[in-house]
């Protein structure tokens, strides 16, 4: 309880200082929090079509991209992780592909998929698949010899081997990858919306910039922060449930 107070006191204190400074300095670049909140209210609550037309599509794209990347990354990762040979072939290629800054491929995706949702999904998927993929490979490799032997002796069916042994054994690593990917998808969602769309939080940010509307810009930034915080908290809750079987709860603050 004291810790809870401690951390939120400082947070509240900083916001208060900002508020006071904002009032006194009256700098257009740094509007006080009260103005930011009221701008956000006007923007998304009083005009709900702004919320349904921009915020919702953004979140939907973010989540779909992340889910697609997760499914692809986990399946491919488990496959590669259980075959040293396959990894020898694919390893260097993966290292190279992972190092490509995804925004650099936005022009290519723009031409391949045309502007719009599929191009944005492609950008998000390409950008966030690597942490999931590489962590899944790592996790799949970590199945220990005794478990491999036990499964072989009992001649369990293939699906049980994959879903009942490899996947759970890899799941702690997979979740670590999923968390990194989730925060990356927020970045890539914004990037994919800065070009070639007229809806989404990213494009609204761009528009606010063009109109020199700093208060709205701040509102957008705060919204993204809240979104990131919320998504991460939700995933942590899911992770805690999914990995409840683990003997020792791990340090959660290390991403």
């Amino acid at each position: 309880m004291t810790k809870f107070l401690q951390r939120w006191t400082v947070f509240a204190g900083l916001v208060a200082v900002w508020q006071l400074l904002g009032w006194f300095a009256d700098d257009p670049f740094f509007p006080p929090p009260s103005k930011i909140v009221s701008a956000a209210w006007d923007w998304w609550v009083l005009e709900p079509e702004n919320f349904t037309g921009h915020v919702v599509p953004s979140v939907v794209r973010l989540l779909s991209g992340w889910v697609i990347a997760s499914v692809l990354g986990v399946s491919l990762g488990l496959l590669l992780g259980r075959s040293d040979r396959a990894m020898e072939y694919a390893g260097p290629l993966l290292v190279f592909l992972r190092s490509i800054p995804p925004p650099a491929l936005v022009p290519v995706f723009l031409l391949l998929f045309k502007a719009g949702t599929s191009m944005q999904l492609a950008t998000i998927v390409f950008g966030v698949i690597w942490p999931v993929l590489l962590n899944s490979v790592d996790g799949a490799r970590s199945v220990d010899v005794t478990k491999v032997d036990t499964s072989a002796v009992f001649r369990i069916p293939r699906w049980q081997w994959v879903l009942g042994v490899v996947l759970p054994a890899a799941s702690p690593k997979i979740f670590a990858g999923l968390r990194v990917s989730l925060s990356l998808s927020l970045v890539l969602m914004v990037i994919s919306e800065l070009v070639g769309t007229d809806n989404g939080i990213g494009s609204q940010l761009m528009q606010a910039q063009r109109e020199f509307d700093y208060t709205r810009m701040w509102a957008g930034i705060v919204l993204l922060g809240v979104l990131g915080y919320g998504l991460n908290t939700a995933l942590l809750a899911v992770e805690r449930r999914a990995l409840a079987w683990q003997p020792r709860s791990r340090d959660e603050q290390h991403a």
């Binding site: 951390r7 947070f11 190279f96 592909l97 190092s99 490509i100 925004p103 925060s183 700093y214 930034i221």
Partner: protein, 247 residues
Amino acid sequence: MRAFTRGLLGIAGFLVLWELLGRSPLIPAHALPPPSVVFGELVTQLTSPEFIGHVVATVLALLIAIVIAIAIAVPSGLVLGSVPAVRHATRAVVEFLRPIPSVALIPLALVMLGFGPETKITLAVYAALWPILFNTIYALDELDPLLVDTARVFGTGRLGVLFLVALPSALPFVLTGIRLAATTALIVMVSVELMAGSQIGLGYFIMEARSGPGRMDQVLVGTVVAGAIGVLLNNGLERVRRRWVAW
């Protein structure tokens, strides 16, 4: 050596697939030029001083950003990691700041800092801070209390412990954080160059090639070079970690 050959074969297979895709009628030729074309263009560009200028600009800005990020994040991490009170107090702030994607700050940075290199360096620093900061804090968590006690017994003060015991034993973690940070910073750097219309840099080169003549081969040259920089940074820092940090 075998594994190396297989890796090369993997890359070759990828290139062949790309070549076939690029030449197939399924995909419009201007959208995805095949690797044969791209590599021809790559050779041309690598001998062009203008292109080299773009690469140097990006790499230089990247290095500056990493150095600044280290200078901020390592000391902060040491403080947050060794003084629990400060850490609890700032935790909510940190947890709120961290998920704000650096690219969301592009518009703000543009109006405040203009179109010069300050903008992209600032944003890359912001993105690179977090992995270094968290790895430093984490490293101090993992610090063996026995080491600290031993040092204390020999009369080492608090600062002495920090510099003689904590920092060296945290170094491997910190270096891992720096490696992650470098990759992130590269992504942000190129993104900002691409979108914020700076005057020089790899991202700018890609943007120019796309929006002007629509030269997709040049776009892909930029992409390949950016990927190569990423691989070099990653492997280089990994090698540094292994060479210097043998414990």
